[in-house]
Amino acid sequence: MTARVIMQTPDIHRVLTRIAHEILESNRGADNLVLLGIPTRGVTLARRLAAIFQTIVPGAAIPVGALDVTMYRDDLWQHPTRMSSPTDVPVSIEGSTVILVDDVLYSGRTVRAALDAMTDLGRPQIVRLAVLVDRGHRELPIRADFVGKNLPSAHDERINVRLAELDGEDVVTIDQAVSA
Amino acid sequence: MSAPRFLIRGAQIGSGSATDILTQGNVIAAIGSGLDSAGAEIIDAHGLIALPGLVDLHTHLREPGYEQSETVLSGTQAAAIGGFTSVFAMANTNPVADTAGVVEQVLALGEAAGYATVRPIGAVTQGLEGMHLAELGAMASSRAQVRVFSDDGKCVSDPLLMRRALEYVKSFNGVIAQHAQEPRLTEDAQMSEGEVSARLGLAGWPAVAEEAIIARDVLLAEHVKSRLHVCHLSTAGSVEVIRWAKARGINVTAEVTPHHLLLSEDRAETYDARFKVNPPLRRREDVLALREALADGTIDIVATDHAPHPSESKECEWGAAAFGMIGLESALSVVQESMVETGLFTWDDVARVLSITPARIGGLASHGQMLAVGAPAEITLVDPHDRQVFTTDRLAGQSHNSPYLGIDLPGRVMWTIHQGYATVAGAKLIATDIIAAQAEEVRRG
């Protein structure tokens, strides 16, 4: 494998700040927003976004939650059994504007599962999707509203997102499988 | 004077050196080299070992009554393919072999089939119910000349009844073959009681249930000066009791099955009911103690306890499965594996425990003689160098409940000669009609 570094701490911070501004702009402020991260790294990114909001709009405490989608996936028979993660949504999402947050948008199946999972929790007014990286190859009619970086990639490449809170460093790499 | 029949070339007699054996009619006519073989069928037996035809003192032929499991014909075919020329048929048929009529029927079925000499064992008690003595004298004086009596499958647990039986059979030099199992201590028992049973949650069968009965019976045999045979020893403790009794001069003989010489209780781990047997498989220590005891003569013989069951009796949950496993076809291989390959036995020892001594215990003069000039032509030729995975191809009986399927075993019976004719040639069973005709010819003289 050869790994190419795509983003590091300053890049990640920069794009998250931009996304935060875009969200505030489209929402016309911080009112009614709920950030729901998709475990594991989506939750971390959602927390970072919430922190950035506070620097932009002092006093804005935007609720952050975790939305596990494992039990809603359509590929549970294609892989070894997946571990689930906790779902923790601290406020009612009824009538709110939910920003779903994930690290990488790929086939769109995870987001499809997230929409179903969210439906079982309540009925938001608006749902938007924010991702750090969009690598293309959609298999469902899903697109992100806020994208940190568009990264066209080949199927056999791996996009690897590492975040300091979980992995000890901030880095996004693209791993090229080298055929023997 | 009948014509020469077989010239067996280059066979090693027991542990001895290679030689030729010439049979004539149903006796061995000559042993040596340069024998006149005019008209004889030549068997190339180089590399094979010649044993006196094997004798099984403990076979369940299931007929009459349980013909879906085995018949006298199919059971003796299994015997032949395993190298046996005589089997003692246990009494737990339906009707039970507790009258002269039933034992004579079994005898006649064996004679008609012709694959092996069938000696019926008579029940000790009527219907194996442990209440009243069966007609022991009538069975002894019948055409079947029963000498071995057993309620096998059940224990003669009533001490007074056991004493009377031991005394009664003295008048015709009979022997009581006891299935030693204290019934109260083994109610609902499923496997040997110990570490494995505790883990598997199967009701335990304590060693003491066997050992206590053996201890009682050797003391009874001593007291009434009779002869006792103990079936299928399974524990190290039973060996100690027999050793003590023999040292004391008590007239007791003991048997062990091939499976108790090779398999241990851990086979139950998968709840594969092929390993469910009575008495149960025991600990590794017990297996080793049984081998030692067979090697030092404390245990006199190996007997198969061949117990055929239809597949539905084994393809089920352990608790619902029948006890027992077939053993005739595999016995010699298992004895080779557990006793010869381990260096505990010579092939002469194999002849002793699988032919000579069981014939003596059962009072069967026509079998179990050393291969010598004038001895009956009851001969088994085994290839000791063969080693392969044991499969259903090796089975000749009606049932397939062998615990050895899929296990690597040495040795293969290549020829079995019974009453002078071959029942097995080149490891293949000779056809039923041919054998029946040969047997008929022998009977006519």
Binding site: T81, M83 | G201, Y271, C316, G319
Partner: protein, 318 residues
């Protein structure tokens, strides 16, 4: 996990994963919509050769919350009680397209026989077999202990150093066996207390300490958890102990013994209880008692079990 037959097959990681998934399943039970779509289109058969309404309902609720179709196949009054073999029943269920079979059977090892047979391709979940094991009961017991002891911080944790005393009919108890192996795997220290008649003779080979005397055992050090096992009616007249009164006096969790325990000691019972025999009402109904939680947690643990057995790429797992 292809089947769940015995807790002895579970590694520490696999056991903790199951408990963690159970936590996520338990969270679903707290929301308004208690249903997950996970096992839509899958068929779970509850094959009960023994009556056990409690266990069957628990599995049924678990399967339904995961959107599986549930077929209850009770042996009573069916062809099974008319002598149909396990093999024939299994082949029938296979033909019906069962993806998982939850089996309760009076014969030890029946689930293992089913799993190894080739008669049916379904995942097999042991819901109690004879006197062998009852793995989901042990999992729910461990789950209950972990929640009480670690609360919200349970995730990822075992039961390291937790002292558990199991009292009663060990030799005939599938609950005890499954608990002994699982608790050991999770790092707990297990003590068994019973008259010698109700312990396996080979109990010294188990990873436990043994005491015949309950007062002595409790006097040495109060356990973190005391689990009382049910005394079955049919044991009463088989000389395992002289009579129920003597059993209750010596091995029951009486009021006096319960009052002597610290307020932190959890009181567990797999149910159904014989109040006044192995456990006093005061102990059973006390705040330390987890008996009702055990019932609720049972559904979560069985959801996790069904999820783990029914999902996953079998080729990868095999």
């Amino acid at each position: 996990m292809r089947h769940l037959l015995s807790t002895s097959e579970l590694s520490r990681d696999a056991a903790i994963d199951l408990l963690d998934i159970s936590e996520d399943m338990a969270a679903v039970a707290d929301r308004e919509n208690k249903k997950l779509p996970t096992l839509r289109g899958k068929t779970v058969v509850n094959l009960f050769f023994e009556d056990s309404t409690r266990t069957r309902i628990s599995f049924e609720a678990a399967a339904k919350r995961l959107s599986a179709d549930v077929i209850n196949f009770s042996a009573k009054g069916s062809s099974v009680s008319k002598g149909e073999s396990l093999k024939d029943t299994a082949q029938t269920l296979s033909a019906m397209g069962a993806d998982a079979v939850v089996i309760r059977h009076g014969a030890s090892g029946a689930p293992a026989v089913l799993a190894a047979s080739g008669w049916i391709d379904a995942g097999i979940i042991n819901a109690g077999d004879g006197t062998h094991e009852h793995p989901t009961q042990a999992l729910l017991d461990a789950f209950t202990m972990r929640r009480r002891l670690h609360g919200a911080g349970s995730r990822g944790k075992g039961l390291d150093g937790v002292s558990v005393t199991i009292v009663g009919d060990i030799v005939h108890s599938r609950v005890a066996r499954s608990n002994v192996w699982l608790l050991k795997t999770l790092g707990a220290e297990v003590r068994l207390v019973a008259p010698a008649t109700l312990l396996p003779v080979a109990v010294h080979t188990w990873p436990v300490t043994v005491d015949y005397d309950l007062d002595h055992a409790l006097g040495e050090s109060a356990p973190d958890v005391i689990m009382m096992l049910r005394i079955q009616q049919e044991r009463m007249n088989q000389a395992f102990f002289p009579n129920p009164r003597e059993y209750s006096n010596v091995w029951g969790l009486s009021n006096a013994r319960w009052i002597g325990l610290p307020a932190t000691t959890l009181v567990m019972h797999p149910g159904p209880m014989n109040r006044g025999l192995e456990i006093s009402s005061a102990a059973a109904d006390s705040p330390q008692s987890t008996i009702l939680e055990q019932v609720a947690n049972g559904v979560s643990v069985r959801m996790a079990t069904l999820y783990t057995v029914l999902t996953g790429n079998r080729e990868v797992h095999a």
